[in-house]
């Protein structure tokens, strides 16, 4: 019974026992277990493509009142497999004047960091690739390689649209990284740890309920980082064809495609780890730890559904609006939230068990006040000009 309830940890222990029973030395046992863990994480990451492409197409189709893919049995859910076969058989073209080595390097560089992030994502108590004490920083550091990969793709293709898209990368991704870091800092302040597993363990109340501001900012920034519509201006097809991907075909394009979905999955798991309580679900993870990966997965699917909902609902933003929205709205809001978190951490409490509840209540009250004030300011500014929407006025650039 214990074996089934705590399946994932017990499986590791069992494998370790069997291997040592065969007379494998300790370093060999650790090596084999590490390789198995890496393989599992890689497969989980790549499986995201097979699961989320049909999901995206079906959900978006539903929102746009059309059937979506419905030919590949059953209900078109195997469309990803058909896509994969199509990609494999396509011709791989490198433009004659492109920088061959860099053109080749970019698809690799974009896929590797997307998969590397899975090393620190917690799928349950002790069910984690590597519990780094700088886990959150690791995620941020690795995701900068993504920026680099897109720059290389844009430059190496020797194409004007690709180069323009590479210029946008620096503007968009770096602008949205800053509010993202501010939100992560607020979480780290409240939990007093940078390890991803520690953050989940320290989260008595899901942080989305404690600081909705940070949660929303993080979601928006994550969508901008993962380059999802309505903030997918790096590949905005109506402005720059497909951006940095325009010269890629066949499997190289498929690599970009895979990286996008793996990124989306990883970001959904990061959001559920930082803001939705990770593998915790009303004590269920203590009763049956075997379920914790499924809890994480369910939360990730929910977050991805939110992203698709945004995509199906909002039109694509204009580029200058997008950038000034980050700098003039999200960054100040994130800063205020961070300051509030720094104050809340200092609240003295007699009984340590009530600390998270007191902190949570004060934090939530402060967040609601900040939201109210922010929208009051937006409304004031909007009334002064004859704009239809308050947000539009604020994010419009001063020309």
């Amino acid at each position: 019974m214990k074996f089934i309830l705590n399946f994932w940890v017990e499986l590791g222990n069992w494998l370790e026992g069997v291997l040592s029973g065969w007379g494998v030395p300790t370093w060999g046992v650790n090596l084999i277990i590490d390789i198995v863990v890496v393989l599992i994480l890689l497969i989980v990451g790549i499986m995201a493509v097979l699961i989320f492409t049909p999901m995206e197409r079906k959900v978006i189709a539903r929102m746009q009142d059309r059937p979506g893919p419905n030919r590949v049995w059953p209900y078109g859910v195997l469309i990803a497999l058909a896509d994969a076969i199509k990609m494999l058989t396509k011709e791989d073209i490198t433009p004659r004047k492109a920088d061959r080595a860099l053109h080749m390097l970019a698809p690799l560089l974009v896929t590797i960091p997307a998969l590397l992030v899975f090393a620190v994502l917690p799928f349950g108590f002790r069910v984690i690739g590597q519990d780094l004490n700088v886990g959150v920083l690791f995620i941020l550091a690795i995701s900068t390689i993504h920026v680099l990969a897109i720059l290389i793709a844009g430059w190496g293709s020797n194409n004007k649209f690709a180069l323009l898209s590479a210029f946008r990368v620096v503007n968009q991704l770096l602008a949205y990284e800053i509010p993202m870091v501010l939100c992560i800092l607020a979480v780290v302040l409240l939990t007093r740890t940078m390890s991803t597993q520690g953050i989940v363990e320290a989260q008595t109340i899901p942080f989305f309920l404690v600081m909705p501001i940070a949660g929303m900012i993080f979601l928006i920034c994550a969508m901008a980082e993962a380059n999802r519509s309505p903030v997918d201006l790096l590949e905005a097809d109506s402005e720059m064809v497909a951006g940095y991907m325009v010269e890629y075909s066949g499997m190289k394009f498929a690599m970009f495609f895979i990286a996008e979905y793996v990124n989306m999955f990883a970001i959904a798991i990061i959001i559920s780890t930082l803001f939705l309580g990770g593998y915790k679900f009303f004590g269920l993870e203590d009763v049956a730890p075997v379920l914790s990966p499924f809890i994480v997965f369910a939360k990730a699917v929910f977050v991805i559904f939110l992203m698709l909902w945004f995509r199906g609902t909002f039109p694509r933003m204009r580029f200058d609006q997008l950038v000034s929205f980050a700098w003039k709205f999200l960054v100040p809001l994130g800063l205020v939230n961070l300051m509030l978190a720094a104050l809340v951490v200092k609240i003295p409490a007699a009984n340590p068990s009530t600390v998270p509840w007191i902190q949570g209540a004060v934090m939530l009250a402060g967040n609601l006040i900040i939201i109210a004030v922010a929208f009051l300011i937006l409304n004031r500014t909007a009334r002064r000009v004859d704009g239809p929407s308050a947000l539009k006025r604020i994010v419009a650039t001063e020309r």
Binding site: L102, L137, A141, T144, L148, W155, A166, V170, R192
Partner: protein, 165 residues
């Protein structure tokens, strides 16, 4: 030779090869990419020394910010984009002298100084200790604040310079 020595040699080769690539490559964009390779090698060395925080900051600041800025500058300057850019100019002899002098000074320092080694193992909660040290008035609160004010001044200055008149 232990495993960590082997890893050290590989990472050292990566860092040095990257550095050599920066100097020898005639294409500026590729040179910037080699610079990133070198930074990554150094970050690997930090991880080998169990300084994970430093390694992550190295990746975040040098690879994520400074290198991207360099690449952006390279991409924005039109003359630099052509691959036939000269790697040498008329001052190469002076450059060699300066570099050789620098190398000699560093080599002498490395060989002469008795480097202190820690007696005990590295403490576990190093990151929180570092954080405490940065804000405690008896340690590094003043330099930390001065540095942040300096960065703020640079930020304001950049905005003023960039602003259209």
């Amino acid at each position: 030779m232990t495993v960590s020595q082997g890893v050290f040699i590989i990472l050292g080769i990566v860092a040095l090869a990257g550095a050599a690539g920066v100097v020898l490559n005639r294409n500026l964009f590729r040179a910037a990419l080699f610079l990133i390779l070198s930074f990554v090698g150094v970050a690997g060395l930090y991880i080998l020394l169990e300084a994970e925080l430093l390694a992550m900051i190295q990746l975040l600041v040098y690879v994520g910010a400074i290198s991207i800025l360099i690449i952006f500058a390279v991409m924005l300057s039109r003359q630099m984009m052509s691959s036939g850019f000269q790697a040498r100019n008329s001052d190469w002899f002076l450059g060699v002298i300066v570099a050789a002098g620098m190398f000699a000074v560093l080599a002498i320092i490395l060989l002469r100084v008795q480097w202190p080694t820690a007696d005990s193992a590295v403490p576990k909660d190093l990151i929180s200790q570092l954080g405490q040290a940065l804000v405690s008035p008896s340690q590094f609160a003043l330099p930390f604040e001065v540095a942040s004010v300096l960065l703020l001044v640079a930020l304001v200055g950049a905005v003023i310079i960039a602003r259209e008149k």
